[in-house]
């Protein structure tokens, strides 16, 4: 193979690997926040059922907790977008 | 013999008849009409299509027509050449037959629903007949749901949700009619997508009317305004999830029924499959669609 072809091929492989990385990053990155936020919301449901008069407070706490657990998901999204668009 | 046959007896008779038919006519198809060469009214033909072709013909009739170079494609629509020509002009070669089927089924279904409604209205009385009782029961059930989720003062939404439920339910059940060319409208993706879009558009319109334009736009910028594109994607995904759920279930049921019946030469098995996929899953999916659009609405307008 002449060096020019090798260079183009290497570029293609690198781009493909970047896509693969983006997918795996977002895929596995979505696992943790999904389960965590679900657990939070489940417990919030229980809490609302026990003391419905505190529903507003519980919902607010739930949303704050979920927003924090969400952040790792957003990091994955950012990395995946970077891998897709900047490589 | 007692007046009412038990279900077991009916099933047994059915089974025996099916077995006899299967024994004598396995691998043949029954045709009605008039045969071109002999002029017979009812005749049997050896089946020549493979399963692959059968599936192609059922879910992609236009592709089937193109692949096999059929001379008279309008015969597959069970309609006239003139109408087929109109549809080709409107939708092109690629989806004329599918669109023809869909439009005809929608027309039949709408006429049927209007006629039933007119009939029940004309015959309604204090002492309800059986059919009136069935529809009153469904209406009452949905009315209860609406009052429970939206509140007593928003009772006027019942009509909308009742119509949606009835339409989806009846269109899922059309698969029970063993007439060639008849298929569920919900099997075509356009119908569920249109219904889903309608429901979500209603939700957004009511939300806009209740909260005013400023608060409505602010709702998209939560928690911070950078997230607005993702919030919009989330709203679009509501339409996708609500409509593809219906489409996937009905389409899946249809394909599985087709393939398994083709493998078993259409003996007995289609009945059970139709009972599960059409009657049971069809009803549940119609209810889920109604329930979801109702809940999305209540999320926006109930405080």
């Amino acid at each position: 193979m002449d060096p020019n072809t090798t260079q183009i091929l290497a570029k293609g492989i690198a781009q493909g690997a970047a896509f693969l990385g983006a997918g795996i990053c977002m895929g596995i990155g979505a696992l943790g926040p999904g389960v965590g936020e679900g657990y939070t919301a489940g417990k919030a449901c229980e809490g609302v059922a026990r003391s419905p008069e505190q529903a507003g407070l519980i919902t607010r706490t739930m949303l704050i907790g979920q927003a924090v657990s969400e952040s790792t998901g957003i990091y994955s999204l950012v990395i995946a977008l970077l891998l897709i668009f900047t490589t | 013999m007692s007046k009412k046959m038990s279900l077991k007896t009916i099933l047994l008779i059915f089974f025996v008849v099916e077995l006899i038919i299967a024994f004598f006519f396995l691998g043949k198809t029954l045709h009605f009409g008039s045969q071109k060469d002999t002029g017979k009214k009812i005749w049997f033909e050896e089946k020549t299509e493979t399963m692959n072709q059968e599936i192609d013909f059922d879910i992609q009739p236009d592709l089937y027509v193109k692949k096999n170079n059929v001379d008279e494609p309008w015969e597959f629509t069970y309609g006239s050449k003139w109408l087929y020509g109109k549809f080709v002009k409107m939708f092109g070669d690629g989806s004329a037959i599918l669109n023809f089927r869909l439009w005809r089924m929608l027309l039949y279904l709408d006429i049927f629903i209007i006629l039933v409604a007119a009939f029940i209205r004309a015959k309604s009385s204090k002492l309800p007949s059986k059919i009136q009782l069935i529809f009153e029961m469904i209406y009452g059930f949905i009315d209860d749901l609406v009052i429970e989720t939206l509140g007593e003062n928003r009772k006027h939404f019942t009509q909308f949700f009742f119509t949606i439920f009835l339409f989806i339910w009846l269109s899922n059940w059309t698969a029970l009619l063993p007439i060639p060319g008849i298929s569920e409208p919900t099997r075509n993706l356009n119908v569920p997508l249109g219904l889903g879009f309608m429901s979500i558009a209603l939700v957004h319109f009511m939300s806009l009317r209740k909260r005013g334009i400023v608060d409505y736009v602010k709702g998209f910028c939560e928690p911070i305004f950078i997230m607005a594109p993702l919030n919009i994607v989330g709203e679009v995904s509501k339409v996708i999830s609500i409509s593809f759920r219906l489409f996937g279930n009905i389409f899946g049921g249809a394909i599985i029924t087709l393939v398994v019946s083709s493998l078993t030469h259409y003996v007995i098995v289609p009945v059970g499959l139709n009972m599960f996929f059409t009657m049971f899953a069809g009803t549940i999916q119609a209810f889920v669609f109604t329930m979801l659009s109702l809940t999305y609405l209540s999320m926006e307008i109930v405080d």
């Binding site: 926040p33 939070t40 489940g42 998901g73 | 593809f244 393939v259």
Partner: protein
């Protein structure tokens, strides 16, 4: 660089097998969990056995829909006529990706859906008089749990039908890139819906059991469930966005 039909068949058959195989595994778990809790509840409340059995059948039908989607994709892979006309490596990988997407993608939602059904049945066993409310809530919960499966179905259908069979200007480098992008599009939605699926299932399950305990607060519980589930779903939507980008932008 058109593939031979036999090599393409390897991809088609592998995709079809993986899709239905993985999906049935999780659907079996979910339905079995629901059935086990039905048995337990009937043991406690033999009088309510008919309503419990009915709820079990309804919930299992909903859990099953994930496996049905996977079966449809398998059937389309096997009988959809993809071997005719030839296909290149990128299309072959996109077909495998379609199978992986729906197969992996309905795993989490199926577990979650089964969990939600089991909690609903447990609730009905405790409080049979409120079975209508609990069943309605269970259906909503399972429906929103399954949205991950539906995202996966959409991606699978896109990979099957919008990816061209042969590239316009084929080159080896581009082919490798595209092949990676398509199979990753399947994997990302497959793994990405696992977490949200199980999470939303947990929310729905807890909401069901809460309604059986405090049935007069059904409205506020359902609303909290919906809010929590909508937030948990956002990661699945991120995965869907990445998947779309990989299919269309790459």
């Amino acid at each position: 660089m058109v593939l031979e039909a036999d090599i393409l068949k390897v991809f088609l058959y592998t995709g079809a097998a993986l899709s239905t195989g993985i999906a049935s595994l999780s659907a079996g778990f979910g339905e079995g969990y629901a059935a086990a809790h039905t048995a337990r509840s009937i043991m406690r409340q033999p009088n309510a056995s008919s309503v419990l059995t009915r709820t079990m059948l309804i919930s299992q039908a909903v859990v099953e829909s994930g496996a049905i989607f996977a079966l449809v994709i398998s059937m389309l892979l096997l009988f959809g006529g993809f071997t005719q006309g030839g296909a290149d490596w990128a299309k072959a990988f996109s077909l495998l990706g379609a199978g992986l997407a729906i197969g992996l993608g309905c795993t989490g939602p199926n577990f979650g859906s089964g969990y939600s059904a089991a909690r609903a049945i447990e609730g009905i066993g405790r409080n049979p008089s409120k079975s209508g409310r609990i069943t309605a809530n269970m259906l909503i919960g399972q429906a929103i749990t399954e949205s991950g499966t539906i995202f996966a179905l959409v991606v699978s259908l896109l990979l099957l039908y919008t990816v061209p069979a042969q590239m316009s200007e084929p080159s080896l480098a581009k082919m490798i890139m595209k092949a990676c992008a398509y199979i990753t599009a399947g994997i990302v939605i497959g793994i990405g819906t696992f977490g949200p699926g199980t999470g939303i299932g947990y929310v729905a399950g807890k909401a069901n059991i809460s309604i059986s305990k405090h049935s007069k607060d059904q409205g506020v519980i359902t609303r909290t469930m919906f809010l929590g589930a909508a937030v948990s779903e956002s990661t699945a939507i991120y995965a869907l966005v990445i998947s779309f980008l990989l299919i269309f932008v790459s």
